[in-house]
Amino acid sequence: MNKTNIPRGLMVAALILLAGVFIFPLWQITLEAAQFPGGLKLNIWINKFSGGEGEGDIISNINILNHYIGMQKIEPDAIPELQYFPIVVYIMMGLGLLAVWLNKTWVYAGWFIVLFVLGALGVYDFYLWLYDYGHNLDPTAPIKVPGMSFMPPLFGEKDLLNFYVKSYPHWGTIFLSISMVCALLATWFKFKQHSYVKK
């Protein structure tokens, strides 16, 4: 590749990698217990939830388990983020194409910063949902959880009653992160070219 095309190439790569959030889950929470060989897997996508293969409707199964401790039902239709997050990604892709066309250092930098901030806000938003589900428990539920808190970790592993819960980013988030790195590199190479031309 011609050296002058490197930033553009990197930015195109960033866009392709960003599409990974539609192909893979962003996060995975695994609930391990004796009765669930292999664990119950909850995959969180940019626009939906899914379970492990052959597990059936994971949300319904988790809701059945959670009703014993009075956790409110997870209803995907009532989570607006699942509707507008994909739109945000489409907009970012559009802006990314614009950035490729303009091919300017500040445009690449700007795109990177916006994506980074959005990503960070997304993780914070996810934390708020976890906190809400984990603390908003029905006091008349059959099982009263000590401290009335049943919050899975955002990142890491934790014992929750009979479950050992693991929560980690999944491929979607990894692709998103590499996409950011590409945008950052595009900014860097463009900046270097610019200063070289100046000399």
């Binding site: 052959g54 597990e55 059936g56 409707d57 319904s60 199964n61 059945i64 014993y68 059959p142």
Partner: protein, 650 residues
């Protein structure tokens, strides 16, 4: 005196225990046998073995080599464990032209085949007493269809499958007047007939249909096999009582040195059928099929059958003589050798199919029976296995040129070379085996490895359980030159035949739960919001849901004396192994065991006013004990309105 006699007997018995057969049996097991049959916790068996249950009317699935019982599959008998035959959906399975028959004697297992090999789609089994054939789905391990076979009696000789599952072939064990009529029993020779029946199998759905029947002389048709490979298109059936005796068969049906094996060219029968040689006969029989989307069994009464008469159909039926009252009739993997096991003979007759065919072509006949040619015995003989044991019953194959035969009287399994007709090895069984099975042992490509012998006599094999004992089965490793006894386990009912198939041909397709969205039961409630109670005259239909850990509704009022209450319970769970049970006090129809996504119905007729509990009978969850409710019954004419609720919300 009596005490002394008992004491002496006990002494003799214990001496025998130490020095006699029991010790021999123990020492017959080699040192590492335990290792060979040990399936560690969490690991799976290598084979599924399906054993018929005889007079239990059911089938059992065992794992091999561990001998662990995996499941009892109810077929011809009511089964209180899961409500089979008690639920409104499954009751019609027992409809027959004799009325409701909720029991039978299930003998022979047949796994479906493609190209002469097991394909893991379906399992078929016969009912001996009230002639029927059932189909079991191997994704759900549930009976899904039962067809009655008309104008036969004692469907022992069934349901033998052809190499592409084209037909399930059966023969009548008892000849009877056909059609049934009131005649003196001693008019047997004049009035009694046999039938061989061809039930076709739909290759998409497995649905059975009686294609045609062949009118046969009044013998007792005992067992059969269909040809494969070179002999595909032919059926071979052993018969006894070619004497046509009607009393004291033990003696009178054992007079001749040779009985006859029927040889039927069913491809030829199809040609005759096409040429319109079949005669429509009036009859009446039931065909009961479960609709898989609703789980409801529908019964249909069929009114006619197509009969072929060998007299009108040239080249369709032959006989060949077999020594003394043959029982088993087995075809080698290549399809070339047919083995007639003469149960009163010490010899085993091996016919060669190519010689048999040649003899037919050359018309080497030694007379006829009512116009049916009898093929010359010598001309069709491959060889005779001389004095291998006493009372040969059944033979299977290992695909390496060996045959294995059970000997009932001498209580042993004998391995012999098919080509040379010489004995290779023999091992005792405990005691008196009937059938044996080798995984794939009746197919073109046996898997070999193990041999399971199913015994008729158990005696002292296990801790005693009074006069009634479980039948015993023994597992042998047959990989080496010598057979090795590796396991002994009790079975359920009286297993006759069994078939075993590699687990990986079934396991991946096994269904874990029913999809609720595919449930088309007319009384399904797909969600608690859909739960309701509807009155229709004196019938009350409760559309009930079950989910961990409550029913909806769980309070029902307004039921009156004289009502018929139908609880239609839908299990809303959509996860593996979360069944819910249901029953209500005083229910005459037992209980239900409802799988996830399924709807089952329990009929309840209250016998007195009051408030009666219903509850979940399967320990479904930590709060299973709380999974209950009440139904209030008011006197006839009471003004209590029909109402229902859950958590005080209607």
């Amino acid at each position: 005196m009596t005490v002394l006699a008992v004491g002496i007997t006990a002494l003799l018995f214990s001496a025998c225990k130490q020095n006699g057969s029991v010790k021999d049996a123990t020492s017959a097991v080699k040192g590492d046998a335990a290792e060979e049959v040990y399936v560690a916790p969490g690991e799976y068996d290598e084979f599924y073995a399906f054993l018929s249950g005889g007079y239990s009317g059911n089938i059992t699935a065992y794992g091999l080599p561990s001998g662990r019982l995996l499941k009892e599959i109810p077929v011809f008998s009511k089964y209180p464990e899961n409500g089979y035959g008690y639920s409104e959906e499954t009751k019609p399975f027992f409809n027959t032209s004799y009325g409701e028959v909720p029991w039978d004697d299930a003998h022979h297992i047949e796994l479906s085949q493609t190209d002469g090999k097991f394909d893991g789609r379906w399992l078929f089994v016969n009912a001996n007493n009230t002639p029927r054939i059932a189909k079991i789905d191997l994704q759900t391990f549930k009976t899904t269809e039962i067809i009655e076979i008309p104008d036969v009696a004692g469907l022992h000789c069934a349901p033998f499958i052809t190499e592409n599952s084209e037909y399930l072939v059966s023969g009548t064990r008892f000849s009877v007047p056909m059609p049934q009529k009131d005649v003196p029993i001693d008019s047997y020779k004049e009035n009694f007939q046999g039938r061989v029946n061809y039930v076709s199998v739909d290759q998409e759905t497995g649905e059975m249909s009686l294609s045609f029947q062949i009118q046969m002389p009044g013998f007792n048709y005992d067992l059969a096999r269909n040809g494969k490979g070179v002999s595909h298109g032919w059926t071979f059936l052993t018969t006894y009582n070619s004497e046509e005796a009607h009393t004291m068969l033990e003696k009178n049906a054992s007079q001749r040195d040779k009985d006859l094996m029927a040889v039927i060219n069913w491809k030829k029968a199809e040609e005759h059928l096409e040429q319109g040689k079949g005669k429509e006969q009036k009859t009446s029989y039931y065909h009961n099929v479960m609709d898989e989307s609703t789980g409801i069994v529908e019964s249909e009464v069929k009114k006619s059958t197509t009969l072929l008469n060998p007299g009108d159909c040239e080249g369709m039926v032959y006989f060949v003589p077999v020594p003394k009252s043959p029982h088993g009739c087995d075809v080698s993997p290549s399809g070339e050798y047919l083995i007639g096991n003469g149960k009163l003979s010490a010899d085993m007759t091996v016919f060669s199919f190519s010689k048999l065919k040649q003899a037919i072509e050359n018309e080497q006949f030694a007379g006829d029976h009512n116009g049916i040619p009898i093929i010359d015995y010598e001309a069709s003989l491959h060889g005779v296995l001389k004095e291998a044991g006493l009372g040969p019953l059944h033979t299977e194959f290992d695909g390496k040129g060996n045959a294995y035969t059970t000997f009932f009287i001498s209580s042993e399994v004998v391995k012999w070379d098919l080509e040379e007709t010489t004995v290779v090895d023999r091992k005792e069984t405990y005691y008196s085996p009937g059938h044996l099975t080798i995984p794939g042992g009746e197919t073109k490509e046996p898997y070999g490895k193990y041999l399971l012998a199913m015994n008729k006599i158990t005696k002292d094999r296990y801790l005693p359980t009074g006069p009634e004992l479980a039948h015993s089965a023994q597992l042998y490793n047959i990989e080496g030159e010598k057979m090795e006894l590796i396991l002994d386990f009790p079975t359920k009912g009286e297993p006759h035949y069994a078939q075993a198939i590699p687990a990986d041909m079934i396991q991946p397709g096994v269904k874990k739960y029913h999809k609720l969205e595919e449930n088309e039961h007319p009384y399904v409630a797909k969600g608690e919001g859909k739960a309701k109670v509807v009155r229709d005259g004196n019938e009350v239909h409760v559309y009930m849901t079950a989910i961990r850990s409550h029913f909806a509704p769980d309070n029902i009022e307004g039921i009156k004396m004289g009502d018929e209450v139908y609880f239609h319970v839908t299990n809303l769970e959509q996860s593996w192994d979360v069944p819910h049970g249901f029953t209500v006090q005083g229910a005459h129809e037992g209980g239900l065991l409802v799988m996830p996504g399924e709807t089952l119905t329990l009929k309840w007729e209250p016998v007195k006013p009051g408030v009666f509990p219903f509850y979940c009978t399967d320990f479904c969850s930590a709060l299973h004990q709380e999974m209950s409710g009440y139904v209030r019954v008011s006197p006839k004419g009471s003004d209590v309105e029909l109402q229902w609720s859950l958590d005080e919300e209607s």
